[in-house]
């Protein structure tokens, strides 16, 4: 049924339909509306779930870890500093092969403290072993949660999944959303059937000490599972499309790239602005397209290669940095073409929209103006040089 919903409310509603047995979270802006929504839904008796109000994000992640290890479906949500405070537990959850589903309301990292949107938080956790999805709009946020549970809990995966939604833009934005009903969700997402669990009937030891004889193989196994995920995600997405009448690809989305001379690569809500800009410029005869990355981990290098190999010029838009080196997404897009015969002539890297600075159509146009035969590295768009003049002396 189509409803006019705030992004956070929509997440609370779709998570409710997924019936997690245990929810644990700690408040942080801009994640709060999601967990407040779930708390109210439980208080109203619409969802039978144990809601554990913890004293920190570290414990929120640990509570869902313990619960999913006991064989039940779980959910948590966080943002920014909260995600970082969870970081140690997040690596641990992946290492223990436990399918926790987490919503990350993307927000900038302190210092300076800033509650607005960029993607430095989840990007910094890219090596944690989690599958990461990035949503463009509220509909996609809703849909990706269903796909996340199916993928993470699949017996061939047993991996945690992070659904990333841009803070404020998507958490507090309001859109018309096609919400599935309980029957549809139950059909697509059966009850969690764990591969292993803490059960006195069948005692097992989870999280043992593993020495150099076997440690490498545990990491190799996760790496291999991520490769498998590149096949499973499109399969489950196809199933999802059939069940809910949508047209996702699962790993990437190509928007008007077929005859494009210049393509922007981006993730998250900015893709909406980019699409609008493309439509406007296409009407003036400019051949521009967008490659949207939906699945960032595992990184769909083959699909990216196919999508960009014949594109003359590519602009990679990063909303995060790897301070002291190349931008995170740009360096990986470049790595896709390393040593390949077919490759874009230019892959330029742009940094846009940090700490909630608006990315407007003009920002995108400025990026495109700079996307020419001269390859650019770490080009900051909308930088204010006047703010850089002040110095301590």
């Amino acid at each position: 049924m189509k409803q006019f919903l705030e992004g956070s409310q929509a997440v609370a509603e779709i998570v409710t339909l997924c019936k997690p047995a245990v929810i644990s979270a700690y408040p942080i802006t801009p994640q709060t509306h999601i967990v407040e929504g779930l708390a109210q839904i439980i208080a109203d008796g619409r969802l039978n779930s144990q809601f554990v109000n913890v004293e920190s994000e570290h414990s929120a992640a640990s509570v869902v870890l313990g619960a999913v290890a006991t064989g039940v479906r779980v959910y948590t949500a966080t943002s920014s500093q909260g995600l970082f405070y969870m970081a140690e537990v997040l690596f641990n959850i992946a290492g223990l092969r436990l399918p926790v589903i987490l919503t990350c309301a993307n927000r900038a990292i302190s210092a300076p403290i800033n509650i607005w949107n960029d993607q430095q938080d989840s990007i910094s956790l890219r090596d944690a072993g989690w599958i990461q999805f990035y949503a463009e709009n509220i509909q996609e946020v809703v849909d990706l949660h269903l796909i996340a549970y199916r993928v993470g809990e699949d017996k061939s995966m047993m991996l945690p999944v992070m659904v990333c939604m841009d803070g404020y833009t998507l958490t507090h934005g309001i859109e018309v959303v096609d919400m599935p009903n309980q029957e549809q969700v139950d059909k697509f997402l059966p009850a969690y059937a764990p591969l292993y669990k803490l059960d006195p009937q069948e005692p097992l030891t989870l999280g043992p000490l593993v020495d150099p004889e076997s440690y490498t193989e545990t990491r190799y196994a996760i790496q291999e599972t991520h490769k498998e995920a590149l096949k499973l995600i499109p399969q489950i997405t196809t199933e999802f499309n059939q069940a809910f009448g949508r047209q996702y690809n699962g790993l990437i989305e190509e928007y008007r790239t077929k005859d494009a001379e210049r393509v922007i690569v981006a993730m998250g809500s900015v893709c909406g602005t980019i699409k609008d800009t493309i439509d406007e410029l296409r009407a003036k005869g400019k051949k521009i397209g967008l490659l949207k990355i939906i699945t960032y981990r595992p990184f769909p290098y083959q699909e990216i290669y196919e999508a960009l190999k014949n594109i003359p010029m590519v602009a990679v838009l990063d909303r995060a940095l790897s301070l002291g080196s190349f931008a995170p997404l740009a360096s990986e897009i470049k790595a896709v073409f390393c040593g390949k015969k077919k490759a874009p002539k230019v892959i330029s890297s742009f940094i846009v929209g940090l700490g909630g600075r608006d990315i407007t159509k003009d920002s995108i146009k400025e990026m495109l103006r700079l996307l020419n035969t001269k390859e650019r590295t770490l080009e900051f768009i909308d930088l204010k040089p006047e703010l850089l003049k002040d110095k301590y002396e």
């Binding site: 245990v22 644990s24 913890v54 570290h58 640990s62 005692p203 989870l206 000490l209 020495d211 076997s214």
Partner: protein, 295 residues
């Protein structure tokens, strides 16, 4: 079928009080138990892949989160309607409990989870090589509170964990000692009969860290109690319901048995300070026996 749920073959040191106490705790709780364990000696010596000593479901996640992991286990069991039949035990060493894990433990207490938390208190970070913790006794010589020209060891007394536990208003708080095995069993049994969060802190002998022969481990644990330095107390619903009565021995008798206190024997003024700690305990908990006490 094994007679114990904590099987031999693990790699604990000879004379390890933690191995002894952990076996008593789990065997008292029985097979219908799920254990969440902080990182530390116990987890390391009992779960080296591909082997495990544990005859019950056991999960180790991180150094500081056993109380939170156990909270999740308990919440899942509640959801499944299985909590009534299954004990949940969270456990860790003194560092994992009183220092790095205190926040998660406080959260577990405050939220009222039906979990028994057991702290195996060997009074320093033994797994990493005898560094001082918040539960290291006053004047102890450890690798991070070393004795030197300007130092007589650890400058602070033990963090009062039982009092911190009591301040949370939880229904059961007790101390025990690896020198008194039957008392451990009795207290674990009592604790598990009570609904809500429980805290038991067990003085766990560590021959390697305390520097004494393994063969005298139990005697040393008993001396800690008999001098008044490790009072055995038991609180139910905030009320002191039992203490182990003693005919107090001078603290030197305990201090002289261990390398970690050796430097104090030539410093009567320091021994006096430690005697004052024991005397305060004896007075506070009314430990002095009217007539001689047996084992």
């Amino acid at each position: 079928m094994s007679k114990t749920l904590f099987n031999p073959g693990h790699t604990a040191c000879a004379g390890c009080g933690q191995a002894l106490a952990a076996r008593l705790v789990i065997d008292t709780s029985g097979p219908n138990t799920i254990v969440a364990n902080n990182t530390g000696c116990l987890e390391v010596f009992s779960t080296k892949y591909p082997e495990s000593s544990w005859g019950v479901p056991f999960i180790h996640s991180l150094f500081e989160n056993a109380a939170a992991v156990a909270s999740g286990v308990e919440a899942a069991l509640k959801y499944l309607g299985k909590k009534e039949n299954i004990n949940v035990i969270a456990q860790g060493g003194d560092g994992g409990t009183a220092d790095i894990g205190l926040q998660a433990l406080s959260g577990m207490w405050e939220r009222g989870h039906d979990i028994l938390y057991v702290c195996y208190d060997n009074e320093a970070y033994m797994n990493t090589g005898i560094q001082r913790s918040g539960l290291t006794p006053f004047d102890s010589n450890t690798s991070t509170s070393p004795v030197g020209k300007g130092s007589v060891g650890n400058i602070r007394p033990k963090k009062p964990m039982p009092e911190i536990a009591l301040a949370h208003g939880i229904p059961y708080v007790a101390t025990a000692s690896s020198g008194f095995p039957q008392d451990i069993q009795k207290k674990v049994k009592k604790a598990l009969s009570i609904k809500g969060p429980k805290y038991i802190q067990i003085h766990a002998i560590c021959p390697l860290g305390w520097r004494h022969e393994a063969g005298v481990a139990i005697d040393i644990a008993k001396l800690a109690v008999e001098t008044g330095l490790y009072p055995l107390i038991e609180y139910e619903n905030g009320k002191l319901v039992s203490v182990r009565k003693i005919q107090p021995k001078p603290v030197e008798e305990y201090l002289k048995t261990q390398g970690r206190f050796k430097h104090l024997l030539s410093k009567p003024e320091e021994v006096k300070k430690i005697q004052e700690i024991a005397d305060k305990n004896i007075e506070k908990y009314n430990l002095r026996a009217e007539s001689p006490v047996g084992d």
